[in-house]
């Protein structure tokens, strides 16, 4: 089992849980949650430095990018140009080539704009980025992303931050069957059950932010997610029993008194 690693862009990770670093009360709560979750990859956003107040702490003081892989994202970008600008800047900060592309199309449901997403993926791949792509749970779009060179497919379970869990298991299964790329279920997972379910569908990993950061007890949920992902993965690999509408006794009939 220790050899069962998540491989993204030729690099292996022991943990299949990727966590976001947004929405926490403070950096301390964030870094503790990341630690408890066991995640080796965290998503981060690119924003302006507060040049007039440098007394404020920064993320890198709490999460060491040498120990935890920073995955810069394009959260908040609604066009290809914005996303490309953001990721080019992210790469400049410290040579990050592994990035999470996310081009949103609607402010209310935060669904991805797949036309802009596809366009951006193609350009970023040509520029040498390893692009993990947030996308709809549409097998055809997932295929097109794969064809233009995405490094991972990251379909949503449900809208970002919604906690609705997996809305379309069938589509996720189809995407799983058609692609050899890492499949990371991203967005909408609400609890450990959702994370385990995503893993049991055959996902290579899950990405969780709000479910941990906004739980009443984030540390407890961070641990719950860690074990859910491990559990779901082992369950997926174990080859579950066939479903049967009738009962099948677990104890032998022989020797009944």
């Amino acid at each position: 089992m220790s050899k069962d690693k998540l491989i993204i862009a030729n690099k292996g990770y022991k943990s299949r849980l990727i966590v976001g670093t947004g929405k926490y009360k403070n950096f301390l709560e964030c870094s503790k949650s990341v630690k408890l979750s066991g995640a080796e990859i965290v998503t981060v956003a690119v924003r302006r430095v507060n040049i007039f107040d440098k007394s404020k702490p920064i993320l890198m003081d709490y999460i060491d990018p040498k120990k935890i892989t920073y995955l810069p994202n394009t959260a908040g970008c609604f066009t290809s140009d914005e996303a490309l600008r953001t990721l080019r800047l992210a790469r400049e900060i410290g040579g990050w080539k592994l990035v999470k592309l996310e081009v949103l199309g609607d402010k209310k449901n935060l669904f991805p704009d797949m036309i802009e997403t596809l366009k951006s993926t193609e350009i970023l791949v040509k520029e040498g980025f390893k692009v993990m792509v947030y996308c709809n749970d549409d097998p055809l779009m997932a295929k097109r992303l794969e064809n233009v060179g995405a490094s991972a497919i990251m379909p949503l379970a449900s809208p970002i931050g919604s906690g609705l869990g997996i809305l379309n298991k069938v589509n996720l299964k189809i995407i799983r069957e058609q692609t050899k790329l890492p499949l990371i279920v991203d967005a909408g997972l609400g609890d450990a059950k959702d994370a385990a379910e995503a893993m049991q569908l055959g996902s290579d990993g899950v990405l969780v932010n709000t479910a941990i950061a906004k739980a009443d007890k984030p540390y407890l949920m961070a641990e719950a997610m860690k074990y859910a992902v491990i559990s779901g993965r082992k369950s997926y690999l174990s080859g579950r029993i066939k479903k049967n509408i009738y009962g099948s006794a677990s104890s032998p009939k022989r020797g009944i008194i």
């Binding site: 947004g22 040049i51 890198m60 400049e92």
Partner: protein, 72 residues
Amino acid sequence: MIKKNKIKIKVNGKNYIVNNNYSLNTLINKLDIPKKMVAIELNKKIVDKKKLKKIILKQKDCLEIVHFIGGG
């Protein structure tokens, strides 16, 4: 009023007044920004951080200095 030897630039959306012979490197040092942790864009073009000393700021230059923050 801006004095003759001063120029007005924009840094992260805010007006900033500096001497007219200021290099980008001097500005970044004065702002006490850790270069390793940021990316800098000058008039929408990414700046090679090794060349900061060679860039002399001009009137109306627009700078964006970004870093990583928490995000999902």
